[in-house]
Amino acid sequence: MLSTFNTLALLTPPEAAEFLSVIPAAMVTIVVVAFILIDMFHRQGTPRDYLAYFSVIGLAATAAGCWYLWDTAADPEVFAYGPAFFGMLYFDQFALFFAALACISGALAMLCSPALLQSHRMDRGEYYLLILFSVIGMIVMTSAADLLTLFIALELMSIPIYVVAGFLRKDSRGAEASMKYFILGSISAALMLYGIALIYGAAGTTNLEMISQNLIYITDSGHEAYPMVILGMVLIMSGFIFKVAGVPFHIWAPDVYSGSPTPAVGFMATAFKAIAFAAMLRVMVVAFPAEVFRGGFFGLGWIDVAFFVAFASMVLGNFVAVVQKSVKRMLAYSSIAHAGYIMVGFVAANSHPDFYLHNDAILFYAVAYVFAVVGAFGVLSYFGRRGRAVETFDDLGELGLKYPFMGLVMGIFMFSAAGFPPTAGFLGKFYIFRSGVDVYAQSGETAMLVLVIVGVLTSVVGAYYYLKVLVYMYMKPAKKEFPPLEHKGTRWAVAICAAATLYIGMFPAQTIDISRDAVMDMSGVPTGAPEGAEIGGPHDVDIQAVIRAGEVRLEELVPDEDE
């Protein structure tokens, strides 16, 4: 069978408007090329701070570009037929939202880096370059409309980071982190690839929307290709769960986080997670929307897999974080727990198409999480001088008193990560759990309520180890001296993170609107959006936009009562 979609597409040259979809990735690519040219003329022996600032400005410009394109992306008349470039890339607000988030996370992490690199005598341009490459991969991944684009973007985002993990060459722990990350990351990529091959075999296409259309014929469990689809789906999902460090695939996270350069860990822990969740949301919602693949609760589809991952990540992440002695390992386990919380939102929003719009809770949580965690790793990198880096909780003694500014911002980040008002983290958790309770209230799924209760209880455990950081910083005696790596980049980065955390926590309306718009505008969603209009309540939906999003399903807005 010849794929008719591709044949038709090949006869049509790309419209000029399609190039809008590559603008964010192209902007970062231009920054990369300019970076290489500038680095070529660098005079040996002088610091490379200006290269970091150059990359930060480039990424900030890209984020601003995403904001500039925001309204264009929602315009249904920009280009009418399907994804751009013969069904390869989406151009929608959802992609722009995560592209901007990846840029912001990368920029803040790079701003923290120069002092640390200089202290390790590894002040090299390649570090920033590799992070920029990874950001390009992330931007493409959020807009991927085809499993081929998705896989290439996944590798483009991961491979540079394997190198960054071992970038501090004289540190043998970095080498170990890099090796472990590479081996486990490649296995997960291979598993995901095998899943893609099986889905390709069953559906005969790698285009996400075509997959969902073709798989309708295989939803009967007696069909000979049915086991192949289920296996492929689970393998693809396992690749994503690895990237977000969800529980069965979380083993790498503590080792890699504690061995890698600290500011880069901020980038790995936040941008990777947010982007992998975005791509997982897109793939699972667009390509496998059928009820039988989704599974509901314990029909054992992908929602049930997500349910177990969420449950196990929250419990294991939080409880193991309690007993850690190293601060970075504690943050690594807490990031596993955060993956669990985001997964709760994922389960709640996608357990039934009616609740699809609740996905904005995930987007809001991702924003809150990025600022708090990049900032926390930024503060740790401030005390990361070579040979005298802060490692354990004991090392934190009195740092808050000696360095009041760093103590203050670390307090804000820890309160946000633990979920205390008035920080962004509180609202993030609130929206996640509220979406879960809402699903329970409207559908009566006890499983959902169990998940929310476990989430709330484990957050209490989380508060213990986050506040422990502050207790050590302010109330415990100093055992050793930790001369800070004074650098205005780090100060600016943590100040921006703290300001954003407080601002979003106190004035969340704008961020909520943006994340809701982004979810509403997600392209390729076959059934979710129109039914979403019926929810009402906390989400007052723009009915026109909903109808625009799913013109095909317009009749279904009016239920047929005779049947």
Partner: protein
């Protein structure tokens, strides 16, 4: 009696090679062999793609296989660099040596 390989034969071969690769990653101690096992996994997937593409008489799978090869080459470049990096520190490429990061 003539015998022709069908789609199922290729898929079984591909699954077998993939499993060999996965087991190899888990039980072999030499980092280079581990890396070879990962390549084996990627290439067994290529076999699946090609078999499906031939079965359906379309080009998508062939194209995908080429992209996977390119990605595998990029991974090889990074992997060998990492192996050398580890060797400089440990004077060995055994993955058992990599046990500093746990406490």
């Amino acid at each position: 009696m003539s015998w022709e390989p069908t789609l199922a034969h290729f898929l079984i071969l591909s699954a077998a090679v993939f499993s060999i690769g996965l087991v190899g990653v888990m039980i072999r101690r030499n980092a280079i062999i581990v890396f070879m096992s990962i390549e084996l996994m990627l290439n067994s997937v290529n076999l699946s793609f090609i078999a499906f593409a031939r079965y359906r008489f379309e080009m998508d799978g062939h194209v995908f296989a080429f992209f996977v090869m390119a990605v595998a080459a990029a991974e090889a470049a990074v992997a060998l660099a990492i192996v050398i990096h580890v060797f400089r520190h440990k004077r060995s490429v055994s993955v058992d040596e990599l046990a500093d990061l746990k406490y």
